[in-house]
Symmetry: C2
Subunit: 246 residues, 2 copies
């Protein structure tokens, strides 16, 4: 069943979708909802319901809640990714996949070796990436939409979390291979984790120093060289396997 996120909190058993919303457009026009059609809706309080269409006209759609659903679909830990803007459509792709895999927040920040600069198009990029995150959250049946932020490095370094890890290739080369699993295994439900990843050309040694000073622990992510957009996906999958499938 199709799932939509609502910009409202559901207080009663009835609610309306008005015509100038994406949800009205998609459910009404693309899926051609009729009286009796059903879909899932997540409100601003992460309340998940199935609702059916009572009436529909060119201006609005009236719906009644049929039942409430209780699903545990969010990662037990709130994961923030800090990544560099990436070339071509790789940032779009990263937002879509990270959302499917349960990320809470994705922070794009320009690093020393970043090859892409979004400064002149920041607002446009943010809108685009938020749309991708919303669509992916609906498609993967999540209860929250990942937050997208474009921050400066100094701001990103201020992010507070119960644990902070930085993916570092050299860590693997130095023979370290199990710190990622060890660290993730100590996380408790409800805690937060910030994961920092370098751009295509890797993190500079100055950046690693800065991150270590800010209490980031360097971790390796296996023996193969992963692209800048693959490493966060590997880490999120690993966190899910270690915290949801054990």
């Amino acid at each position: 069943m199709q799932r939509y996120f609502l910009n409202q909190t559901l207080d009663t058993n009835q609610f309306e979708l008005v015509k100038d919303t994406d949800t009205y457009q998609h459910f009404g026009r693309v899926l051609r909802a009729k009286v009796g059609s059903q879909a899932e809706f997540v409100d601003q309080q992460q309340r998940l319901v199935v609702a059916k269409v009572d009436s529909i006209d060119a201006e609005k759609m009236a719906l009644t809640i049929v039942k409430e659903l209780h699903q545990q679909v969010e990662l037990p830990v709130a994961v923030t990714l800090v990544v560099s803007p990436l070339k071509n459509d790789r940032s779009d792709w990263l937002v879509q996949k990270a959302t499917e895999l349960g990320v809470s927040r994705i922070v794009f920040t320009r690093m020393a070796r970043s090859v892409v600069d979004w400064q002149k198009q920041a607002a446009k990029k943010q809108v685009r990436l938020e749309k991708i995150a919303l669509a992916a959250a609906q498609q993967s049946h999540r209860l929250v939409v990942a937050k997208i932020d474009l921050l400066k490095v100094e701001q990103a370094l201020q992010i507070k979390a119960d644990m902070a890890l930085v993916a570092w290739e050299e860590s693997a080369k130095e023979g370290e291979s199990s710190r990622f699993v060890q660290e993730i295994s100590t996380l408790k439900t409800g805690q937060s984790l910030c994961l920092w990843f370098g751009p295509e050309g890797g993190l500079s040694s100055y950046e690693i120093q800065q991150l270590v000073q800010a209490d980031y622990k360097p971790v390796g992510l296996g023996p193969r060289i992963l692209r800048a957009e693959t490493a966060p996906i590997y880490a999120l999958s690993g966190i899910s396997v270690l915290t949801e499938l054990q």
Copy 2:
């Protein structure tokens, strides 16, 4: 350092690259190799060496092996993915990412609900996907290039492996959540694993029956709905975390 796969076995300390090979073109033209330039080469026996250019002309490049490298970069288990052809560039993307994550073989097979049919362009598709796998193997510094096959379902069902698992959404809905980890944890180094994934619309119940009869065990991959191209990446990352990072 750039890594290349060779179509030859290195018997002596010297070898040549001739001008009509991709490696000559890339190393010579794109990277503008000169006398003294070095690169890594993997031969047909997975022997990995660093070699330097002794001489170069319009016809060929002569190289001498400088040193031999011994790296453990392959997954401890040989993983075959069986997947459906996917829409747009999602098959390309899957081959690139799965190669980075250590896959041994990717089999594309048209399933009941596949929305894409490659029958008329099978040869062209295979060449394209093999090129993507080769580039990704070089970029991620692997020792083997993932094999790409386009097979019929009946042929894919004949694939022999020490363990066979099928990713099945309903498995997660039935409350099963730890079988994937349990099964992967029993695999020993050198064993083989075949992982079967459905197309965008999922596997039909007849297909699941067929797979179960062929000794595939259904496993869930967590509480969120993953796209057809994301599920294999999630599984490969999980296998790496469970077998390489523990």
